[in-house]
Symmetry: C2
Subunit: 298 residues, 2 copies
């Protein structure tokens, strides 16, 4: 598939993800209007939707295509949005800019931003369970377990804790890798897992290979993020270039250097591609997605 075709397919999925999120985020009643507005502000109208894309592309690669995938894609995007809102808070990264507009606590207020993140996490689980009634209950339970594990102390939240503890210190490469695999990699791996489970692939070698693919894609993605943090353009990225260095935060580039980071991004992309071949899905769009993650400029 050439780049233009891939971009078209991605655009198709992104529109579908946006529409599903819009349906999920009801404006709500007057009493909670500000909270609902903050949730919609932070979720809608932006982002690459990499996590939601991976749900859909994985599901499609395995022959699924139902609305259950919309629920799974919404769930991971809601979780991602919640994590960005909380990461941007003054007590965390203190970022004023997100996706090219004021971060949630700047556009609303800090209390509302904390609550919006909290409510988005709950909504993710609600959507994941209410939007998957077409699947066997055993699969729905597995979806919930995969998501809960992926975002807890052994996953995303644990990664953010490592990140928080690393400010002003220099982590070695193993420390950065652990942080990235949890903070970013775990939710991306979970996205692939949800797509697989929705398609009836709930265990065994193919499932494990797909999780491996997701883990490696996630790691490669974050290394590329670190590269772009140093080399990227603020306007193109929609967030401030050089933010990690400005915040005294270690990342892959500060730990290993730019050239080594570029090599590592490609190496983990290739590990993802190898896992995909193991899964017997080497000729699907998941292959292109792994390249997309590393070749992107924002």
């Amino acid at each position: 598939m050439n780049a233009a075709q891939l971009q078209q397919r991605i655009g198709h999925w992104q529109a579908r993800i946006e529409a599903a999120l819009d349906r999920t985020l009801a404006p709500g009643d007057a009493a909670t209007g500000r909270l609902n507005a903050a949730m919609r502000y932070s979720v809608l109208g932006g982002g690459k939707r990499l996590r939601g894309l991976l749900v859909h592309v994985t599901g499609e690669a395995l022959g699924a295509g139902g609305t259950d995938l919309d629920a799974c894609a919404s769930a991971v995007e809601l979780i991602h949005a919640y994590s960005l809102i909380h990461d941007d808070l003054p007590a965390m990264d203190d970022d004023d800019l997100r996706r090219g507009k004021p971060s949630c606590h700047r556009a609303f207020d800090e209390g509302t931003a904390i609550l919006a993140g909290d409510a988005l996490q709950a909504l993710a689980f609600e959507v994941l369970v209410t939007g998957t009634r077409g699947l066997p209950d055993a699969a729905r339970v597995q979806l919930i377990e995969a998501l809960a594990r992926g975002i807890g102390t052994q996953g995303m939240a644990g990664g953010q804790a490592i990140d928080l503890g690393a400010v002003g210190r220099q982590l070695d490469l193993a420390g950065v890798a652990l942080m990235h695999r949890r903070k970013t990699g775990a939710l991306i791996e979970t996205s692939v897992a949800l797509g697989a489970i929705s398609a009836g692939c709930t265990g065994g070698p193919r499932y494990e290979a797909l999780r491996q693919y997701g883990s490696e894609v996630g790691f490669a993605f974050q290394i590329q993020d670190d590269i772009l943090d140093v080399t990227g353009d603020t306007t193109v990225m929609g967030k401030l270039q050089g933010a990690d260095a400005a915040h005294g935060k270690p990342n892959y580039v500060s730990a290993a250097g730019l050239d080594a980071a570029r090599v590592a991004a490609r190496r983990h992309r290739d590990a993802a591609l190898a896992a995909l071949v193991t899964a017997g899905l080497g000729d699907t769009l998941l292959h292109d997605m792994a390249h997309f993650v590393v070749d992107r400029a924002h």
Copy 2:
């Protein structure tokens, strides 16, 4: 059952809840040690465990007694702990004292407190799904749905948003009631629902009556909390007396007066008791629990 017997039973359940929470909150690995410590600090060693108690007492009233109830009780207590951590943050209620010791962000730091709350929410869902393998998958899915709905914008998080928006304003009684029913009532109602679902009561008139019981008990509980906020003793309560007034926060007493609040607490307790009779469970410990909630001094 007399007061001493009731207290003994409650003590038995509280110890069981504490032990289950202790097992659930593993110290974790070194990389996330501070996060895990903050989670344990905020969850263990304190609190009435009303929500966990209601899970167990409801389950027992319906003839259940398995470890599934431990998972459900842990889940609601983890959610409750997360909500207290976030409510205490400077951007929310800015409380320095909780359960007689420094609140989480005072004992640790603000970023860690935000993360601890986030991770506790995820852990609640993880425990609810991994600790209930003895139940049919259909029931497990229903547990997840009940919890997710109970703590989202239509439930606990929505109530906290109303609370946040009400600072410095005087809500009318209907506004206070809506806030209380969501912020406190929804999770207490959910606790009863989880106990019922675990015991195989998953719908129909008895399930609805039990939810009604939980909703009324929750409302009565919060009114009593408001009464104690005005009349209580800081040492006995483990949090500052007069905190609502000091924060400019409306509550039932400021909206209706102390005498009317006392009448209302009893009225909603009686509505809970009536729902219990409808459920055919008027002679169970749930009856005593409704009294306990309103008669307590802390």
